[in-house]
């Protein structure tokens, strides 16, 4: 069970040396008890204290990495139930399930789709993170061959071995041991064998039982056999089971510090209709899954699910922002049009994307408005005529343009008069209200 601040304090050096960044050992102990810092921040803590505190100071939900290499994904490590409390930490991994009895060509194609699934959205590169390969053939040699094929065609994806047969799993794990596949899954009946395979190959293991209670008994068993990186499957299949079980699991881990359920959760949301499947996947993404297994990964579906995951995992306190500066888009020259917008990532990426679409080389002055959209920044008094004038003057862009004309977002047309007064010698032009009208607008001017 968790230790209280005072219990932790008793184990610290009590020198108040401040090296941990806290004024006193007691202050540090209090913070540690809440899970806000790591024990390693105190350099002088004794080995004995480390041992005693190790368990108690471990994060309430274990975090570890799925897969290997640059595109490996970290899962788990969550600290809250609601995103307004604090940022959700590690975006859930999205995976596609492939049955090993599909044709070789089809398997290679799906794996290639995974490899090519990356999309750029608001400056983040988002992708399908993993492939789950389901043992449907009953032929372990075939399974091993398919696992190898998929791993080779999607060289950076994490691999999930969706197979309850210990012998088949063992062969497959060995075939791609370097990829650190996740074994899915151990049940009460196979826990011993599966845990041994996971341990011998240093790979994570999913535990599958009927409901949180049975699951907690199973993870204790697996942990006792020496496996640390465990993934939870409570058997939830319907949307209701997903939201209820995942809530019970997350609450147990966070509010009761109940270690047997302090692991990331996996949900299978397989449905025949792909749009409907996307809806059920949203339930899992929003309600605490760390791995979501899909049956298909069409481009439109990926885009929608990536976007939802990105939305829910952004920091609720700090909107996503880009750097304040004057960006060149295309081969901008002194004659190119100059536009202005705010530094909210979404705004910047939409506007710069449309400028690119127009193929008219341009400059986009991006002003720091603490990451607010154009209208929000205007309403909050951060995107005003005097602030814009000051920014333009200080940016030095004046010396780089032959024609002192600034194009404003149409939403803040109201600023044009006062801005012209404040920016002497400049002409202020009102652009379109919506970014999707920018190509027509820019091409019209160029003509």
């Amino acid at each position: 069970m968790a230790l209280t601040g005072v219990q932790i304090f008793k184990l610290l050096p009590k020198t108040n040396c401040k090296k941990c960044g806290f004024p006193t050992c007691l202050a540090f102990a209090m913070k540690l008890a809440q899970g806000g810092v790591e024990l390693s921040a105190c350099p002088d803590v004794s080995e004995e204290a480390k041992q005693t505190l190790g368990e108690a100071s471990a994060p309430p939900i274990r975090a570890f990495t799925l897969g290997t290499g640059e595109k490996a994904v970290k899962i788990g490590g969550e600290t809250v139930l609601f995103r307004h409390e604090k940022k959700f930490v590690n975006p859930c991994a999205l995976a596609v399930n492939i049955k090993d009895d599909l044709g070789e060509e089809e398997i290679a194609d799906i794996a290639a789709e995974v490899a090519n699934s990356e999309i750029d959205r608001v400056g983040q590169k988002l992708r399908i993170d993993a492939i789950s390969i389901e043992y449907a053939s009953g032929d372990s040699a075939k399974y091993e061959a398919v696992v190898k094929l998929a791993a080779e065609k999607a060289p950076e994806a994490a691999i999930i071995l969706n197979c309850k047969d210990a012998a088949a799993v063992e062969a497959a794990v060995k075939a791609i041991a370097g990829r650190k596949p996740l074994i899915y899954c151990a049940t009460d009946a196979t826990a011993g064998e599966m845990a041994n395979i996971a341990k011998a190959n240093s790979v994570p293991l999913a535990a599958c039982a009927d409901g949180p209670e049975a699951l907690s008994a199973l993870t204790e068993k697996i942990k006792a056999l020496g496996v640390e990186d465990i993934v939870l499957d409570s058997g939830a299949k319907t949307a209701k089971e997903i939201i209820e079980d995942n809530t019970r699991i997350r609450r147990s881990a966070l509010k009761k510090n109940f270690k047997p359920l302090g692991y990331p959760v996996i949900n299978f949301v397989l449905r025949d209709d792909p749009v409907y499947e996307a809806s059920i996947a949203s339930v899992a993404i929003a309600k605490y899954a760390s791995i979501v297994i899909l049956s298909s990964i069409e481009k439109w579906k990926n885009l929608a699910l990536f976007t939802l995951r990105q939305n829910l995992y952004t920091d609720p306190q700090v909107p996503m922002q880009v750097e304040q500066k004057v960006y060149d888009i295309g081969e901008a020259s002194a004659d190119s049009p100059l536009m202005i917008t705010t530094n909210f990532s979404l705004t910047y990426f939409i506007v710069s994307g449309e400028i690119e679409n127009s193929k008219v080389p341009s400059r986009l002055a991006v002003m720091d408005c603490e990451g607010l959209s154009v209208l929000t920044a205007w309403a909050a008094g951060k995107f005003t005529a005097s602030k814009i004038a000051q920014f333009i003057k200080e940016s030095g862009v004046e010396s780089r343009v032959s024609n002192k004309e600034l194009i404003l977002p149409g939403q803040v047309a109201i600023l044009s008069g006062s801005l012209e007064d404040k920016l002497e010698g400049w002409k202020v032009t009102v652009g379109p209200r919506e970014a999707n009208a920018i190509p027509t607008f820019l091409k019209g001017r160029a003509a």
């Binding site: 949307a239 209701k240 949203s282 439109w300």
Partner: protein, 313 residues
């Protein structure tokens, strides 16, 4: 280690409200738990999806959704009939778009006539929405409330700038009322307080904290809704207990993802599926955050969301 089911029991409860008449009347709200957590509380009513129609053809809707209604959308009565007969709509939301000064500036009397016609022809519970023009809505919704007198409708949206006249009209004609503020829990609370101080019963209110589409601020709406629910349940704050509205369709069917053609954005795949998924996922997320009433446009998206609700109940 022994597992104990981590249940929460709340003192507060979401208020329940009914609208419509006779055997078509519907109820929403009433739960005393966070969305769909039946293991620790009661969820007596399923969230309701209303089908959105307009008093003029939806010229500004993207093709994917506009084409569904192309044979019926010239006339609101025909359109409402289609929603009842073909789509089996449980509720209809009629938006009086053409009363907006920039969209035709039709008069309040015109709007009242439209409403009378729709109500006379179609017995499905009706939500009557203005054009979201603060001053004009004050006139239009007053006339609309009168025209719908006795039909137990939901009217809206009352906002900070116009709530007084609209509240008075809803009160006089015994309608339910949507109070809308802009993505801020304190503003939502304050508006509900102002409205109840006028003598309007909180049991007849619906809170619209303002919706936003997937990828375009959804996370703000999601978190404001979650916070409203927690305030109503855990802190038992009565001003935060009315059912919540998610006016999904109008925020979804304008973003690039529901408009851009496949040749324009080959990386985004099928426009049809993409746009329907966009509305579906936005609505599903709102349900998880606490929405009791959704307003949606595409029948396929509504179908997916209804199926998801079936699974969640």
């Amino acid at each position: 280690m022994a597992y104990v089911v981590p249940k929460e029991s709340f003192n507060g409860k979401v208020l329940s409200l009914d609208f419509g008449k006779g055997d078509k009347a519907v109820s929403i709200g009433g739960e005393n738990t966070l969305p769909f957590l039946s293991f620790e509380g009661e969820v007596p009513n399923r969230p309701l999806v209303a089908c959105e129609i307009q008093d003029c053809p939806p010229d500004d809707w993207p093709d994917t959704v506009k084409n569904v209604y192309k044979d019926v959308s010239a006339d609101p009565v025909t359109w409402a009939g289609y929603c009842r007969d073909e789509l089996k709509a449980k509720a209809i939301a009629l938006r009086l778009v053409s009363t907006h000064p920039d969209r035709g500036d039709r008069s309040a009397e015109d709007a009242a006539k439209t409403i009378k016609d729709v109500l006379a022809a179609v017995d499905v519970p009706l939500i009557i929405l203005g054009s979201n023009h603060i001053e004009k809505d004050a006139d239009v919704l007053v006339a609309a409330a009168g025209a719908a007198s006795g039909y137990n409708c939901i009217i809206g949206k009352a906002q900070e700038g116009n709530y007084k006249t609209i509240v008075a009209a809803a009160l006089a004609h015994n309608h339910k009322l949507i109070a809308m503020s802009e993505l801020d829990i304190n503003l939502a609370k304050q508006l509900n307080i102002l409205i109840t101080q006028m003598g309007f019963d909180k049991e007849k209110l619906i809170t619209d904290p303002m919706c936003s589409g997937l990828g375009y601020g959804l996370e703000y709406t999601y978190s404001v809704m979650e916070r409203i629910r927690l305030a109503g349940l855990a802190q038992n704050d009565p001003t935060m207990q009315p059912p919540i509205l998610g006016d999904v369709g109008m925020y979804v069917w304008k973003v690039k993802e529901t408009v851009a053609s496949e040749p324009d954005v080959p990386d985004w795949g099928s426009l049809e599926n993409r746009s329907i998924a966009w509305e579906t996922i936005t609505a599903t997320s709102m349900l998880l955050a606490g929405t009791n009433l959704l307003i949606m446009r595409h029948p396929a998206a509504i179908g997916n969301v209804e199926k998801t609700i079936d699974e969640l109940m």
